[in-house]
Symmetry: C2
Subunit: 259 residues, 2 copies
């Protein structure tokens, strides 16, 4: 099983949209794919019509010691979502308390990695959707994944935030055995504005081959898809947004376009 | 001093843009205004060209007990930003560790409220920019403010997230003396799309008078303003985005348009 994380501490840059879109494309290509919602706000969970406040098993239960009340067995956590071949580990709002509860306790950074190892035979890919905050959940994702996808809006402030992300990765990277390959994906790109083109140029100039060679354009059909609770590549594979994510997936699978 | 917080656990909905725009409008109207960056990612701090990773006093220091290394005196924290009459309490990335450090320690929810009380004679308004995560920093903001502004993108998923925000407020509200008045501000509204109009209608149908009567339209000039490190109402007061925030401020000051 290949584990990819999608993360950026900046909010609203297309993390969840990226996880949903790539997940659906992988499932349509016949790969058994698991989506994991690590955001206590539960955007990915809500996207597929499930309630992050409902009772029942969620990623939160993975952080409860086995045998205790509320502990979750990773083998019984997945719920099927559309399209066929795609499954989801739900988030719950209780996850917002994890940082406070676990505090500085040792060894809580590998919970997710161990849980994913327990289901590694069932899936070909696992995509981790991270919250917009550096905390225990993002640390778990960075420790569990073998590749990181960083969506970045092509606008000036977002570039400044990326430098901080880079330092976070260096910090977390020290506790991994091998450096974590990561790719920057320009998202919400608006061709019509000068500011968008300038930001994209600055991104390529600053990060070179680490930036994917394409862009994910602004496509209002993403909103229609989220309203329908379906991935855009599933309901409109020829839409501009779907085509862009399909091109990204092709490059990721071919190992192109990232350092 | 009037204290307003700007919060939404959903990322990228225009929280920072709202704080910057209202702050600049208040300063231009002659009100002494303090902006407080509560986001460890430091978007508001970076907006005004300051580095959230730089050493030096920041909001983090308010959570360090007085007398200890790194403690900050609220009276010495503000840095002036443009336009004249606007000041900033900087964020630092170290704030991302506060939840883990403070854990379940009692009484850490009133740190900000006490710090703002120490400077209440110096400002007419304080605007608190919250991170996209329910943690100790947002809890402090909700305990310190007397009014809450919740920017909501006019798209379907954002509406689902608002129900969770409503429950969070009810939860936090129990520890306040008086219920917290809050207003929903539709942001990033795109008149051209059907999905935008439908989401706005659904928002008004569901939340009625709690939704501000206007909308903040998508305006690409916000990006140009952030590139220049200036508030849009300061550099282009006649731009659509500036006019919308000016109309919002007028209603907020007149007590109109919110329950
Ligand atoms: N390429 C795109 N074109 C148009 N709209 C998009 C695009 N990508 C994402 N969106 C929209 O932008 C908003 C933010 O996207 P999304 O929720 O995926 O970001 P996020 O980074 O996961 O946010 P958060 O920080 O809250 O987790 C959503 O309304 C989504 O529908
Ligand atoms: N009305 C608008 N029109 C066009 N662009 C906007 C508008 N409001 C905000 N933006 C842009 O959208 C992006 C997100 O805005 P902003 O950073 O203010 O959101 P936020 O809610 O503070 O995000 P975070 O969750 O990361 O704190 C920024 O690039 C900003 O320039
Ligand atoms: Mg998300
Ligand atoms: Mg912000």
């Amino acid at each position: 099983m290949r584990v990819w994380a999608v993360a950026n501490q900046k909010g609203g840059v297309g993390k969840t949209t990226t996880a949903v879109s790539l997940g659906a494309l992988l499932a349509r290509a016949g790969c058994r794919t698991l989506l994991v919602d690590l955001d206590p706000h539960g955007s990915l969970t809500a996207y597929f019509g499930r309630d992050p406040e409902a009772a029942g098993a969620s990623v939160y239960g993975l952080f409860v010691p086995p045998g205790e009340q509320g502990a979750a067995d990773p083998r019984g956590l997945a719920v099927p979502v559309a399209p066929e071949g795609l499954a989801l580990w739900r988030a719950s709002t209780a996850m917002a308390t994890l940082d406070r509860q676990l505090g500085a306790r040792e060894g809580m950074g590998l919970v997710l990695r161990r849980a994913l190892a327990a289901v590694a035979d069932r899936y070909d890919y696992a995509l981790l959707d991270c919250p917009p905050m550096l905390g225990i959940l993002m640390v778990n994702a960075l420790a569990a994944c073998e590749r990181l996808i960083v969506p970045v809006q092509t606008e000036h402030l977002a570039l400044k935030g990326l430098e901080r992300m880079e330092r976070t990765l260096a910090m977390v990277g020290r506790s991994r055995r091998a450096p974590l390959p990561w790719v920057i994906v320009p998202t919400l790109h608006d061709r019509r504005t000068r500011a968008g083109a300038q930001a994209l140029e600055a991104l390529r100039a600053r990060y070179g081959p680490r930036v994917w060679r394409g862009v994910i354009p602004v496509d209002t059909r993403f909103r229609e898809a989220s309203r329908a609770g379906r991935a855009l590549p599933e309901i409109a594979p020829m839409a501009r947004g779907s085509q862009a994510y399909a091109a990204l997936l092709e490059d990721l699978l071919a190992g192109r376009g990232q350092a």
